[in-house]
């Protein structure tokens, strides 16, 4: 299914999301690679298979394969790190933060594309998974790496909208099953 067809599945009460999805993926302060990398990572983190497949397919037409590889890596690694570091900062006991995590995350510093774009995908996923320390840390790294606050803001707008589209599609799929 194309992304356009998937947008058509979003139910009428969620029309705002349908329109936002079109808007955030069109022109923005982000490069084409950043925009689609953020969209793919966000779609994976948002876990609706229909939306994920459509966004990955669109991304394949728009950007090089390394962007998608990095987005997949960021979504997978942050799927782990958001849970782990959120545990550390929510519990807030030195006993845990002093222990080594003993979790591999080597791809964090060996992205196929640029480091700062990889961090931006990680930031978008952290916004969806809801880890405060991770958001602060990745925001610091991407702005230190030269991205503007407008770019960070546009990335998070994509993350928020893709997540909402996944929620709306889950609902639409439930309704179709019930019918």
């Amino acid at each position: 299914m194309t992304l356009e067809e998937v947008r058509g599945l979003i139910p009428e009460p969620a029309r705002d999301i349908k329109l936002n999805l079109q808007a955030v993926l069109a022109e923005s302060s982000l490069s084409q690679a950043q925009r689609w990398g953020v969209a793919v990572a966000s779609a994976i983190a948002s876990r609706n298979p229909t939306l994920r497949r459509a966004i990955v397919a669109s991304a394949r037409r728009e950007v090089e394969a390394v962007v998608i590889d990095d987005a997949v890596a960021a979504a997978a690694l942050m799927g782990m790190n958001n849970v782990y570091y959120r545990f550390r900062h929510l519990v807030g006991k030195a006993a845990y933060s002093e222990r080594p995590a003993r979790l591999r995350m080597n791809r964090m510093v060996k992205p196929a594309g640029t480091q700062v774009d990889f961090e931006l995908y990680s930031l978008a996923v952290s916004a969806i998974n809801g880890c405060g320390t991770c958001l602060e840390a990745h925001e610091r790294v991407v702005t230190a790496g030269g991205l503007t606050e407008d770019q960070v803001h546009d990335a998070v707008r994509i993350a928020a909208t893709v997540h909402a589209a996944a929620v709306a599609l889950d609902l639409a799929e439930d309704e179709r099953t019930a019918a």
Partner: protein
């Protein structure tokens, strides 16, 4: 004997790489695995009892080493022809997925300091060498003690695992630098 922190010596040795006719042998040099970790392990003599068990175990776990960007190299002071004969003779060694190196001039085992003083054969030594060619782990036992491949994988994991995510950022620290 060389130890942790030392450069692993350069080598250029004949090796058995398979049983296919006319493709049994090739030279293996220290330069041919750029960017890879190396796990170099020695055994005293071909056709002895403890050896095939642990060599076969390194073979069975080769995928685990590949997953960790590590090349396994097995070495003894036997000639490449003896290696080949042993591989043809022993069912567990037939499909060995890594090269068996012949240090017949004892140059590598002498440079490393792993020759048994009376027997003149290599001790059961295991070296983990990082992509910068620095020895990061050494383990040597007397001639008839077998070793645990699980332990080598565990050490490799520990050496490769660092908390590289900016999520691990602690207040007051500088931004993590990409390695």
């Amino acid at each position: 004997m060389l130890t942790v922190g030392d450069q692993f010596p350069a080598f250029d040795l004949k090796a058995v790489v398979g049983l296919e006719k006319d493709h049994e042998f090739r030279r293996v040099t220290s330069n041919e695995y750029p960017g890879q970790w190396k796990v170099v392990f020695f055994w005293p003599k071909d056709f002895t009892f403890v050896c095939p068990t642990e060599i076969a175990e390194f073979g069975r776990r080769n995928g685990d080493f590949k997953d960790r960007d590590a090349q396994v190299l097995g070495v003894s002071i036997d000639t490449e022809y003896v290696h080949l004969a042993w591989r043809k003779d022993h069912p567990d060694l037939k499909n060995l997925p890594f090269p068996m190196l012949s240090d017949v001039k004892r140059e590598l085992s002498t440079a490393l300091g792993v020759l048994h003083r009376e027997e003149g054969v290599a001790l059961r030594a295991t070296f983990i060498v990082d992509p910068q060619n620095v020895i990061r782990y050494v383990d040597v036992t007397d001639l008839n003690v077998g070793r645990s491949v699980d332990e080598v994988v565990r050490v490799l994991d520990a050496l490769q695992t660092d908390e590289l995510c900016p999520c691990n950022w602690k207040k007051g620290e500088k931004t993590l630098e990409a390695a």
